[in-house]
């Protein structure tokens, strides 16, 4: 069939595109400079594009989208010091990319409601929208909700004019309400105005509310009456109390719950959730400054949630009583993390080792555990695969080394603690500072 040696130029476009598919973005850029054919194929097969959304991007839009004519996932990122593209550029982009499935906007502060509305009318196939540090308001969001009927995921962070805008304009579910699966609100001042949108998304599975100002109990009470199929809920750095948690117990299908830095939540609230949401698989709690959640709450978890697979406890004072019951009742517990708790010592680690049969991964941070605790792990937890120890002053590399030697299949990571006086005494000694810096990196 072929009587000459084949070269790469004998490949059909689709095969060359397939080769490019295995390359990271930087290498793809190099490929675009090889020859005209490679430029053409690379552009045609480039589906995910991130552009620097400075204002002068507007002048190169035509040639950029002539070259990248199959973009389905687009990110427009402007840096905080530059002026971003405006409405006209966004509308032009929407005309070039009618098949857009995902859009990410970062710091595009010149965009207004008008531009976003026109964009939404052109890009009706949108499935995911993520907005960060932009300045449009309710009208723009509603524009998307009214036009993008396939929208599955909405993430909004620091959307600034939702504060001032027309106070009577509520943020509605529109036609997107029936498709939305995930809503995430972060760093919002008036995030409560999204309540009608959340309540109207009947098929919502995941809700994340992080660092949003004001009281959220009332919103949770309304939302949980309407959104019954919620599976995943993250509440972080919020003003939520046991009242809100009592409302959450209405979502019986809840499987994942994160209660991080919600200082008004106590054992009572946690108990009211877990008594009804017995399908819980993953639970993360950060008791933060008030430390109101402790043994009592965790005993309720142990009594009600047999399916628990993953448990992360930060600033939660759990003792052997709670650990005992958890290990006995939660037979599927595979991943456990304990951080910042003075009550977790070697005896508690022994208890875990002896009783958590299904445990695969264990992380201990800033707890008074020592090498004796490591010894205990040598014999327990038959399924243990990985152990991470951070900032536990009593655990040394000797202890860890011994543990790894006695249990061949186990991986143990030890990050050395940064001792306070090391920094103080370092002065200008760059070698000491370098060691300290490495240690700090590892701890992160």
């Amino acid at each position: 069939m072929v009587d000459h040696d084949l070269t790469i130029s004998d490949l059909p476009d689709a095969c060359l595109a397939r080769v490019f598919h295995f390359l990271p973005p930087l290498d793809r850029k190099q490929c675009s400079l090889v020859c005209r054919w490679w430029l053409f194929v690379e552009g045609q097969s480039h589906h995910r594009l991130t552009l620097n959304a400075r204002t002068d991007l507007a002048s190169v839009l035509r040639s950029v989208f002539n070259r990248f004519d199959s973009v389905t996932k687009l990110s427009l990122k402007c840096d905080r010091k530059s002026v971003s593209i405006g409405d006209e550029a966004l509308v032009n982009i929407s005309r070039y990319c009618e098949n857009l499935i995902r859009l990410k906007l970062r710091s595009c502060r010149e965009l207004t409601d008008t531009g976003v509305l026109k964009f939404a009318k052109n890009c009706r196939k949108l499935r995911k929208l993520s907005v960060g540090s932009c300045c449009f308001g309710a009208m723009g969001v509603n524009g998307v909700m009214d036009n993008c009927l396939f929208l599955e995921e909405l993430s909004v962070k620091r959307l600034q004019t939702v504060v001032d805008g027309n106070p009577t304009e509520e943020i509605r579910p529109g036609v997107a309400g029936s498709a939305l699966r995930m809503i995430s609100l972060k760093d919002m001042y008036n995030g409560q105005r999204f309540e009608p949108l959340i309540s109207g998304s009947k098929k919502l599975k995941t809700l994340r509310i992080v660092r949003c100002y004001g009281d959220w109990d009332k919103v949770l009470q309304v939302v949980t009456k309407n959104v019954k199929e919620l599976v995943e809920l993250h509440l972080e750095r919020l003003q939520v109390s046991d009242l809100g948690l009592a409302a959450v117990s209405g979502c019986r299908g809840l499987e994942i719950l994160h209660l991080l830095k919600t200082p008004d939540c106590s054992n009572l609230g946690l108990t009211s959730v877990v008594e009804k949401c017995t399908l819980l698989r993953k639970l993360h709690i950060d008791g933060w400054k008030t430390r109101r959640i402790n043994d009592e709450g965790l005993i309720s978890v142990a009594k009600n949630c047999p399916n628990l697979q993953e448990l992360v406890l930060i600033n939660v004072d759990i003792t052997r009583a709670g650990l005992d019951l958890l290990s006995t009742n939660c037979r599927k517990l595979e991943r456990l993390a304990l951080c910042g708790s003075e009550t977790i010592g070697d005896a508690e680690i022994s208890c875990i080792a002896a009783k958590c049969r299904a445990l695969r991964k264990l992380c201990i941070k800033s707890c008074p555990v020592s090498d004796y605790g490591m010894e205990a792990l040598a014999v327990g937890c038959p399924n243990l695969v990985k152990v991470k120890v951070k900032k536990c002053k009593g655990v040394t590399s000797d202890g860890v080394g011994w543990l790894m030697a006695s249990r061949g299949s186990l991986t143990v990571n030890l990050d050395a603690p940064v001792v306070e006086n090391q920094i103080a005494n370092a002065g200008n000694d760059s070698r000491v500072l370098a060691v300290v810096a490495v240690g700090q990196d590892q701890i992160r």
Partner: protein, 203 residues
Amino acid sequence: MLKNLNSKHIQRFSYKYLPQFPISPNSPKLGFSRSQIANYRSNFPTTIMSSSKTIVLRSSDGETFEVDEAVAVESQTIKHMIEDGCADTSIPLPNVTSKILSKVIEYCKKHVETPNADEKVAEEDLKSFDADFVKVDQSTLFDLILAANYLNIKSLLDLTCQTVADMIKGKTPEEIRKTFNIKNDFTPEEEEEVRRENAWAFE
């Protein structure tokens, strides 16, 4: 550019009649489809007929290869031809030489034989086989890509394309051109424009 041949392009035998009476296995082959044979077998269970467990593939240079059906259907193209009833005598593959076809068959055999790639030993063994399999000169590698594309064998196509990608990684455009003997047909202005556009894209 070579395209995937669709089964529509393959000559079909026209079945003018369905067998109404028992046919001895020794009578000349009339080219019945597998479903017809299965139907016949269910009506005459006592008759012994050889089931087509092997497939004959014919390369562009006329060589024939007899392979187990399970191996042959690693190729979606061949699988569809069999299902459409075109695998009676042999399957002609006019786009694949015997040299490449024998390699492809070797690949498919190995992948079909490896029982469970879940087990570590089997997985390591297969990885090592794949690594050695692509240690060939460029011409053979591109020939394998074309064959995998035409025969629609996804894992082989991914393996060979990944190999080419690995030859590109970390190189400058000039180094890439040298590797594959490609001529730079950009004018300096065109090249500059591409660079300018690239500067706008982070990813």
